[in-house]
Amino acid sequence: MFKYTLRGTVLALAALSFLVLGSAPSQAHSQLVSSTPANGAVLTIAPTDVTFVFDEPLLPDLDTLSINTEAGVNVVSQRVEPVGNTLSIPWPTTIDPGTYQVAYRIVSGDGHPVTGAISFSFGTPTQSSSSPSPSASATGAIGDYVVVENSPPVSTLVTVVALLAAVLSIGFIVVLMKRGKAQNE
């Protein structure tokens, strides 16, 4: 038990010292390979969980995931035990539609801390109501997000389109057949 804690403390100190010293960016030790949802994804509904896949196994005990709002408010922050190369966090069902950042802080196999983040949104994005200030060099705000209610699910739309296409093609064939008959007679 003591050993375990000691190792954690040493790693924490190592992590802290790197953070404090500041690091030149370079090729990361453990690099993010992919995430689900993908960075920049616009989803219609909330994900069930968020999963990060890295290029190598992660060290246990020190990996954290944080969910932040687009206003930079931390909603969830928790230590997550890695499973091999992956880190996963269930998406809280209580979170409103909008844009969120999920930031990770991991410790790669050689003890170096690595931080990074992805952003995605769910619900339907609308255009920003406040236009970004032209003088302030950076990009502007993201608008409000609303859930469009009563919009038919994609599957219903597909069915309707397919049915329409079928009716039209049957009609077309019937017309062709009639024309053929008329010419033969």
């Binding site: 790197f18 690091s23 030149a24 920049g40 990074g116 952003s119």
Partner: protein
């Protein structure tokens, strides 16, 4: 149309912010002058000490107009020494490097400092960030500046990038759980990109990015 626009706006913002990652191999351990220092006269040389022996790819000194200052760079183990051939003019300056660490990783970075008297820093300027937290830079002119961020964090680091720099200038940030601040030198005018990694209590992480134009 609205939806498409929204998606485009979101897409571009996401591009701006992400993906962000940082790590350390051979870190800059110390330097003379130290990063962000105010020194009274032109130093004979700029000394950079890394956490482990590195190979030198390139290193240079940059004037406050982002012009390369004629200098010679030497590496001895973990110590890189850049010596200008002439005394440097006063004002903000930067030293930047590209080195290769033992494990074959290329590392770029920069430090900045001011020779002579502090320069005028102009008017405070807000920085629009994503995620959008309230961020304020103490001036809109190159020089010794302070950054205040309204974030529930206790520590972090701010990395500044500029088109004239191969690697970022890094500022350490400290906070009280409500506000975070960091100080350092932004040596040139032009567009700077700020990338802040903020660590809160319990290890929460917030990464936010913005841009600022210095005149």
């Amino acid at each position: 149309m609205r939806k498409a626009l929204g998606a485009v706006v979101l897409g571009s913002l996401v591009l701006l912010v992400n993906p962000v990652s940082a790590s350390a191999h051979a870190d800059l351990h110390s330097s003379n002058p130290i990063n962000g220092a105010l020194v009274s006269s032109s130093p004979k040389s700029v000394v950079l000490v890394f956490s482990e022996a590195v190979e030198l790819n390139s290193a240079e000194l940059l004037s406050n107009s982002a012009q390369s200052i004629t200098s010679q760079a030497k590496i001895a183990g973990a110590t890189l020494t850049i010596t200008p051939t002439r005394k440097m003019a006063s004002g903000p300056l930067a030293a930047q490097w590209e080195v290769t660490s033992d494990d074959g990783h290329v590392i770029t970075g920069a430090i900045s400092f001011i020779v002579g008297k502090p320069t005028s820093i102009g008017k405070p300027v807000p920085i629009v960030t994503l995620p959008k937290i309230a961020v304020n830079l103490s001036g809109n002119r190159a020089g010794s500046l302070r950054l205040n961020l309204a974030a529930a964090a206790t520590s972090g680091e701010i990395q500044w990038t500029h088109q004239s720099l191969q690697g970022p200038i890094t500022w350490r940030a400290t906070g009280n759980g409500k506000k975070v601040s960091a100080t350092g030198v932004l040596p040139f005018a032009g567009d700077w990109t700020m990338n802040a990694t903020l660590i809160g209590k319990g290890g929460s992480v917030l990464i936010t990015t913005g841009k600022v134009h210095l005149v």
